[in-house]
């Protein structure tokens, strides 16, 4: 017999109460782990997407708000727009390669879809796409589409199929090889076709640009601003501002996780107080046969700590499972910025250690008061209760 064996006997003696208390802390920890890993996952996805743009910087409408910046990174429609002339002016600046995009969100095969109007030749040389099947655009104004590989998969489209966008029939001409960016989820059409379909003649959404030397960024920016009223943001700047939004989303998630944990802590306090009350007589017996206050304090604290330890482990497992299943659902509905998040929520060893540690700490703190109450009982008041 040792303390741990003694305590574990007490832990499991009321199996129902043990299960429900464990469930409480496990749910708290699971939400903690799930929300944190989903939050972390969002950040890594956004980084991946920003890299997938294949540009050094973006030229956007003036005064574009941060949500629209984020929309560009994640491949969404933005409400502001640029005149096509801006493209004409900027492309003549030396050492800058630039391509226009007109991105619009619409429904294709009853699924929300992003259609991007591009200049076929310029975009091909900018992005160096390869095709998985079919062919690339031959002219600047044909009624055809080249689609990303995920776009094709999710809508079961193949080369030669017809897609209707706002009443305009387009033939799928080619499917792009995987790019690991937003391009995989996009349908590309020639710019002039997109402008016509979406009534945006003469307009584009933004320009992406590459330069030979990033250290001269300030110079290029000045050059661009001298020919057009636009806003210029480097990829890193854009990423930073998007990540700052995600940061606040993350804090909200952490707050929710925190509330769940506090609720779990009260569950443990309640269980332990009940246990102290129920076992008053036993506490008295233990005192009578020579048990010191410290023994009782330690045994109740250890019992409480075991709830945290076991709850932490169960919570981590359940939390990861939830984030694995939840991520794709969240993508689809609530946070479209997450579209394309792969279902593998990374198992972060640090998060696991922190989660179990936090759970242990919470349960030990929750056990302090009940353990103190147990130790404070005198043998007589305990035995006579």
């Amino acid at each position: 017999m040792n303390l741990l064996k003694f305590v574990s006997r007490n832990l499991f003696r009321r199996k129902g109460r043990f299960a429900f208390t464990l469930l409480g802390i496990s749910i708290g920890m699971a939400s903690f782990v799930a929300l944190l890993s989903i939050g972390g996952n969002m950040q890594s996805v956004v980084k991946q997407k920003a890299e997938g743009l294949g540009a050094n910087f973006l030229i956007m409408p003036e005064n574009i708000c941060i949500y629209n910046q984020m929309a560009i990174v994640t491949g969404e429609t933005i409400s502001e727009q640029l005149h096509y002339d801006v493209y004409e002016s900027v492309k003549n600046i030396d050492e800058i390669t630039v391509i226009p995009h007109l991105t619009q969100k619409t429904a294709i095969s009853e699924m929300p879809s992003v259609v991007a109007g591009i200049l076929p030749e310029e975009t091909m040389s900018f992005k160096n796409w390869t095709l998985a099947s079919g062919e690339y655009f031959a002219t600047q104004d044909e009624n055809t589409a080249v689609i990303g590989i995920n776009f094709a998969d999710t809508r079961e489209l193949d080369v030669g199929d017809t897609v209707t966008v706002r009443g305009q029939e387009l033939i799928v001409k080619g499917i792009l090889a995987e790019t690991n960016g937003n391009d995989d989820m996009t349908m590309f059409v020639p710019l002039s076709v997109a402008q016509r379909i979406f009534d945006k003649e003469g307009y584009i959404s933004y320009l992406s640009a590459k330069v030979a030397d990033m250290t001269k960024m300030e110079f290029y920016e000045a050059e661009i601003l001298s020919v057009a009223s636009v806003q210029v943001a480097t990829n890193d700047q854009l990423l930073e501002s998007v990540l700052s939004i995600l940061g606040s989303v993350n804090s909200t998630l952490q707050l929710i996780a925190g509330v769940a944990l506090i609720a779990a802590a009260f569950g443990i306090i309640n269980t332990m107080m009940t246990a102290v009350f129920e076992r008053r007589r036993e506490i008295g017996i233990l005192r009578a046969i020579g048990g010191k206050k410290g023994f009782l304090f330690r045994s109740f604290l250890l019992e409480s700590g075991l709830y945290g330890f076991l709850g932490g482990i169960v919570g981590v497992v359940v939390g990861y499972a939830v984030s694995l299943f939840a991520a794709p659902i969240i993508n689809k509905d609530e946070l479209s910025m997450l579209k394309g998040v792969s279902a593998q929520a990374d198992i972060d060893v640090q998060l696991v250690v922190i989660a179990v540690g936090v759970s242990l700490l919470i349960s030990i703190l929750s056990g302090l008061y009940p353990a103190w109450r147990a130790a404070k009982l005198t043998p007589m008041e305990a035995i006579n209760s």
């Binding site: 005192r287 009578a288 046969i289």
Partner: protein, 222 residues
């Protein structure tokens, strides 16, 4: 040499609340018990026997007076020091056995050994001593009253105590079980332990070397 001595022990229980009743449980009890003695405390219910026993065992503090064990005034000791003293020198047996319900017979004895300062034997030997080797893995609920009380005696011996304090050890037992328990008590006495028993059992009282009768919180001459 007296192993236990009390001087003018007074115990007053003050009730709490509006209709509180104050009970004067002991009114100046002085006694001495020599080492190795078998002493019985007898008397009617509610006259202060158990209170006296609890004060001798250091489970409670007197309102006035002193309790000496080996010449040490235990009323001056802290709660923890008294627990330490019990772990070292005293074994307790209660009327209602007071075994830990969720532990087996063996584990009940082993638990007492967690606190014991001088573990002379292992728990299995102690159960063998009270004739319960075959019940080592039984929980209290699976044992008869007599068997439970024998486990409680084995538990009380976990620290090889000099003093065994028993509060009506046969009070909840049928006559056959009481007989068995009595035999064990006598065996322990023969082995040199000082035994103090509160009892209503005449057989037990007759076999004692010393009998103290408590009446209205005082010792009567007997």
């Amino acid at each position: 040499m007296s192993i236990i001595k009390t001087e003018n022990l007074e115990k007053i229980y003050k009730g709490k609340g509006k209709n509180a009743v104050t009970t004067h449980a002991l009114r100046g009890v002085s006694l001495e018990i020599p080492q190795g003695a078998f002493a019985c405390i007898i008397g009617k219910s509610g006259h202060g026997k158990s209170t006296l026993l609890n004060l001798i065992g250091g489970l409670d503090n007197p309102t006035a007076g002193r309790v000496f064990i080996y010449d040490e005034d235990i009323t001056q000791l802290s709660d923890n020091k008294r627990a330490q003293l019990r772990a070292k020198k005293i074994g307790f047996v209660f009327q209602s056995f007071n075994l830990l319900e969720n532990l087996t017979a063996l584990e009940n004895v082993q638990t007492a050994m967690l606190f014991a300062k001088n573990k002379a034997q292992n728990a299995e030997d102690l159960l063998a001593l009270v004739g319960l080797s075959d019940k080592a893995n039984s929980k209290p609920a699976q044992l008869s009253g007599g068997q439970q009380q024998r486990v409680a005696i084995a538990r009380a011996l976990a620290n090889s105590p000099d003093i065994l304090i028993m509060d009506e050890p046969t009070g909840n037992l049928d006559s056959q079980s009481a007989e068995e328990v009595l035999e064990h008590i006598l065996k322990l006495h023969k082995s040199g332990k000082t035994i103090i028993v509160v009892t209503h059992n005449d057989d037990l009282a007759q076999k004692a070397e010393m009998v103290f009768e408590v009446k209205d919180g005082k010792l009567t001459d007997s």
